[in-house]
Subunit: 104 residues, 2 copies
Amino acid sequence: MSFVHPDREQIDLSAVLHALSDPQRRLIVSELAQSDVPRPCGSFAPTISKSTRTHHFRVLREAGLVEQWKEGTSKMSRLRRDDIDARFPGLLDSVLGTVVAGAG
Amino acid sequence: MSFVHPDREQIDLSAVLHALSDPQRRLIVSELAQSDVPRPCGSFAPTISKSTRTHHFRVLREAGLVEQWKEGTSKMSRLRRDDIDARFPGLLDSVLGTVVAGAG
DNA sequence: TGCATGATACGACGATCATCGAACTTTGTG
DNA sequence: CACAAAGTTCGATGATCGTCGTATCATGCA
């Protein structure tokens, strides 16, 4: 993989908060958090277009929230929960705990 | 006061995260959290212009993070910590705990 | 080799954002 | 009244954002 993946210490709070401020991205993160099985990008947020989904995943990856790697023709994603929890303790839990409530 | 102040139940997670994604606004929130004494807007973020400061406070207020009221010629601000904590438990603590660390 | 699949790259569009200066309003004080 | 202090309002500017369609690339399969 040769994508942008910031180290744990490089993860920037502004970038993380901005990434999580979008409901679509928060939905993706929420789905990633609910199962430890990596899934291809295409299986998330089916209502938006492919290019928009690529964009959202790049924002999440460059913010350090998600790790991505290729498997065949698919690109798998994994939530970097350990890194985020270590860097900003409690942040992910509080955001994920209210993904639905906060959307309305 | 006749400003926009969302009720606790109306506070939107996207708006809160977006408001907190700006370093200047996070700095204001952090200073507000460090002392319970309400302070006038002008005593925050002295490096930015007055109009920009007005803008930032409006974003914070409309997101539900801050309550504002007039006192003489000044406009006082208070962090709505109780409301934010009730709506998104742990969020403010995790963000404020890393205001400085997250900026670098 | 050809084809299908999954994802990216490349503009493009309208919207929003952070920032500013200048003009204005509001309030208090002499 | 005049003046000062504290904020707001009003454009304006350059940047970024979310979204899209189309074209392109990479991989796997027959």
